[in-house]
Amino acid sequence: MLDVSVTYNRFKFLGHEYLTWIWYSIETGTYRNFFDTRDNILITVGNRIVLENRLSKEIETVTIKGDSADLKEGMVALKKGALVSEISIKIEKDGQPWTLSLKGESLSIANLKTPPAGQVQDPEDVDGAVLEKIYLFEAVMKILDTLYLSFIKQRTGDDWNRKIKGKIRQWVKKN
């Protein structure tokens, strides 16, 4: 294994490619292939995407935010070689919604809101509420892990350069 302390910076790009792949998978619906249809999982892009272009001399950042934001500017940035560095998404499972923001370089999760859990009325309710909340965290982590596993399998597989990269480029070109 490589030295963990150097891999954070060295493989930052992997997180940015992953978030770009997530955007592509959401817009084309291909993320559905990674889940059992019985899981009833629906993923949509949220109200914020940040892109970074490291191909230019200085890093260019484009931030798109707002509930009715036009994502076209993001597509233009992708066309010029930018990748997604942060994305907010909404995940629904059996009609239950989670919203969260993912940061590419660290895979840290911010602003995670789970479906409503039981209210804590008195101290005796805390244990139940805690376990329910952890269950809701774990449920969304499982979905995120499935997405990342699917991406990394594709990224390290032979099809990445032969097929998948080309498909993502086509999607970028068409939009």
Binding site: Y8, F11, L78, K80, I109, L112, F137, Y148, I152, R169
Partner: protein, 205 residues
């Protein structure tokens, strides 16, 4: 932000190594040994330690109160005193003036100035109460996984250091490379490919 907050931030870690058996005893011992101590009325300006999730102001882990089978739930508390620099400056200049006022000398040496400053900071630290910051932790020993409810760099660094001291095993943060290496179940050849990946892009112009 606590785990029951409406909106939370999470950093995930893998626990690298095995906790000495019996696990629950080792965890209880590590939590107790490195529980937070109060620094109010003491000259110390900062302290980091474990505390109980339910009552973070009483670091009591008796009766396996941290066990929510199969999870371990506790918090890390960072108590810090912040002294406004202008107060230190005001008291420092007043003390320097007082020492020079008898007219026996023209100036104060660098070492004496440093001593004066240290004494002022120490005396203010005794008077100022520490501000606590609490970060919740959910640990799944069976899966060697830990959720830390803060994305603050300084808090994450404190966690990594305190965890190692307390339980004799290290935490490895799950970021793109480590998540792929430890959690994706890649074959040896895929791990080799992973280590040789180079950046790509989808530019069309």
């Amino acid at each position: 932000m606590g785990l029951l907050s409406a909106s939370v931030s999470i950093v995930r870690y893998t626990v690298n190594g095995n906790i000495k058996a019996p696990i629950m005893d080792s965890i209880a011992e590590g939590l107790h040994r490195h529980r937070i101590k109060e620094i109010d009325n003491h000259p110390q300006d900062k302290i980091v330690g474990w505390t109980a999730y339910k009552n973070p102001y009483v670091a009591d882990f008796s009766g396996s109160s941290f066990s929510y089978d199969p999870y371990i739930l506790f918090s890390m508390r960072i108590d810090k005193k912040s002294i406004p620099s202008k107060i230190v400056k005001k008291q420092f200049l007043a003390e320097v003036s007082r020492r020079l006022s008898d007219g026996s000398r023209q100036y104060i040496s660098r070492n004496e100035k440093a001593d004066i400053k240290n004494q002022i900071v120490e005396s203010l630290n005794i008077k100022i109460p520490a501000t606590p910051n609490i970060h919740d932790i959910v640990w799944l020993p069976e899966a060697s996984l830990l959720y830390f409810f803060s994305t603050l760099k300084s808090a994450n660094e404190e966690l990594e250091s305190l965890f190692l001291k307390s339980f004799d095993v290290s935490l490895i943060r799950l970021f793109p490379y480590t998540q792929a290496y430890f959690k994706a179940g890649l074959s040896e050849s895929d791990l080799d490919k992973l280590s040789r990946l180079t950046p790509g892009h989808f530019a069309t112009t």
